[in-house]
Symmetry: C2
Subunit: 341 residues, 2 copies
DNA sequence: GACGGCCGTGAAAGCGCTCTCACGACCGAT
DNA sequence: ATCGGTCGTGAGAGCGCTTTCACGGCCGTC
């Protein structure tokens, strides 16, 4: 019957009930906002809660409710730093904004490398979270399959590479890239190069496909000299642009599969003495913050990130509620025309 | 007595015990790796566990152990994107590496803005995690005080601004900046400018203090024209460098309080036709990945990030174990001399 | 004035786990 | 043989909470 000193023994429902002169059940009702409590009882409980600084024990609670009221955003990345990606930062922001009004908590789980992925998988399978939103970037990643097989409510951010039947939300990467390239064509450009993203990432693949589709639609045969693979980084974009200029000095436009790469390309072009958009028109992808402040401001493809995260949370919560239907949402992109093309 | 279909009803300890022909207690012992189990009993349990795909319920477990076996890295940031900061990405990586061999899980909690900070505070106070490592960047941030007051095991990454008595680990920012500046002095530079970090962040303050201390030590009076405030970003560094060149065209060296700013400064210097290190020597801070690949490679101050994260986890785990002593660790930095100075 | 209905409440049964404690089996020492 | 000791095991008591169920008090209705 000893009271542990200091930290450790936080007050329980019973103690609150005793102080308020009611039963555990009533306290529980008040804490959980049940309407079936007499106002004066409610007040008494609220006072006791405040006085004791009572905080419900989530372990005890979720033991009976079978809910944890938290969802995880897991970042599965073989080795590189997803965190540095501003796109990811925006997803996190939108996501926590979307959950701000709910009583759901959001935790981020980083799974770099095999061991960490296993740890994350265990964490999730144990039931620490009610559901997960998974950003898995590369083809070889096994986490999507593992989590799907564990029957955890799951939404993928980005279309799954292997076409597995799993719930996902993505931007219309192909359509966006097609629009971007079509815009270039509409501006009279004919020697349109591309700095594409990694071809083991769906965004890289789809954006490249959109570029090709637009060219084909215009009856232009693809020229391998006009295609380089970047890595979605600024430095990579700069390098790729240099390679492109060397291989195809006559190019008159570039579609970069990400704004970061477009920024790098812009720099290389300036260093090479090519004017933008005079000599070379440039279009990026993402509508990153940086796109508006480049010189010249970058024409780019915007993804409806708020809409996408809303869909993700909707689809996830629906699964958490028990809806088993696998659904997908592909959100339309929007071409943001600035000065670079 | 109905068995819920599909997901939901995972097997319990009892079912495993029944299948293995032993008691709950024995299964628990096996699952938790207790040595006091006869090999054959152990084997029977392991088989049953595998067959039933048993995963322990963490809520039930932590209800009795009063442990969650997870710690949180919380990022408290008023509005900007911490995530884009490569420094943060490295901390995350080192941290999860440090925890890889333990059975502790790491979750990241993002607390941008007041509402989210409250949510995070509630999450932590409820006991969802055993302890927290807190990266709080700005002065006005209330989370450190709130969490400290909640008596949650807590380690701050970075010296607290208000000098509150709380456990923290930091690099010797002042010493590192002093060394960097001294290196510049040792190279014969006398008009040494600085692009300092935000003065509401401890790293910004301390690095600036180190710069001044070195100058004073050399008997050089500080010149306000040689001081600009940056914001730790590359773009900010570029702008600051431009301002510096305008105000003090005769400067012969720059100490930038972060590598990102140094990279921006390098670009501005090149655009302005100043050679590095010929006309202007440049030193950065952080030893970011980018520092090695700039032109010229950047002399910079490296923080012992692995050592720092090890200290953080050590100090945190010690608190989790019950050690109440407030301690701090300030880790020495190391000057990495490359070509820029 | 009796009665069915509703409302606020409390008693109590778990949720799935850990861990103490007691107990029987077996060992070597006496 | 007898004994103290160790070892593996199981029964059972909770951990703090939610939630069903039953119950007493009160309402309006006939």
């Amino acid at each position: 019957m000893t009271t542990l000193a200091g930290r450790g023994s936080s007050p329980t429902l019973d103690e609150v009930a005793q102080l308020a002169g009611v039963s555990r059940a009533t306290v529980s009702r008040v804490v959980n906002g049940s309407p079936k409590v007499r106002p004066e009882a409610r007040r008494a409980v609220e006072e006791a809660v405040a006085q004791l600084r009572y905080v419900p024990n989530p372990a005890a609670r979720s033991l009976v409710t079978r809910r944890t009221d938290t969802i995880a955003l897991v970042l599965s990345e073989s080795n590189t730093q997803v965190f540095s990606d501003p796109f990811f930062a925006r997803v996190v922001r939108e996501l926590s904004a979307a959950l701000a009004d709910t009583d759901l908590n959001l935790v981020l789980l980083a799974a770099r490398g095999e061991r960490e992925q296993e740890k994350v998988a265990r964490y999730v399978r144990q039931g620490h979270v009610d559901g997960v939103i998974l950003m898995s970037l590369h083809r070889e990643d096994t986490l999507p399959a593992v989590l799907a097989e564990a029957r955890v409510p799951l939404v993928l951010s980005g279309r799954p590479l292997d076409g597995h039947s799993v719930c996902y939300v993505d931007a219309d990467n192909t359509g966006g890239a097609r629009d971007a390239t079509a815009h270039l064509l509409g501006g009279g450009r004919r020697r349109i190069a591309t700095i594409s993203g990694p071809q083991d990432m769906i965004a890289g693949i789809d954006r490249h496909a959109g570029y090709r589709a637009a060219l084909e639609g215009a009856g232009i045969a693809p020229d391998p000299a006009l295609v380089t693979a970047g890595d979605f980084t600024e430095a990579g974009g700069a390098r790729a642009m240099a390679a492109l200029l060397e291989r195809a000095p006559d190019l008159d436009a570039v579609f970069a599969a990400s704004d970061a790469m477009a920024v790098g390309a812009l720099r290389t072009l300036r260093d090479a003495g090519r004017s933008v958009p005079g000599d070379v028109a440039v279009v990026g992808f993402d509508d990153a913050a940086a796109a508006a402040t480049t010189d010249p401001p970058l024409t780019t493809v915007a993804q409806p990130l708020d809409e996408m995260t809303r869909h993700m949370t909707d689809l996830l919560l629906r699964q958490v509620e028990g809806d088993a239907g696998v659904q997908a949402r592909v959100c339309p992109t929007r071409l943001v025309v600035r000065a670079s093309a």
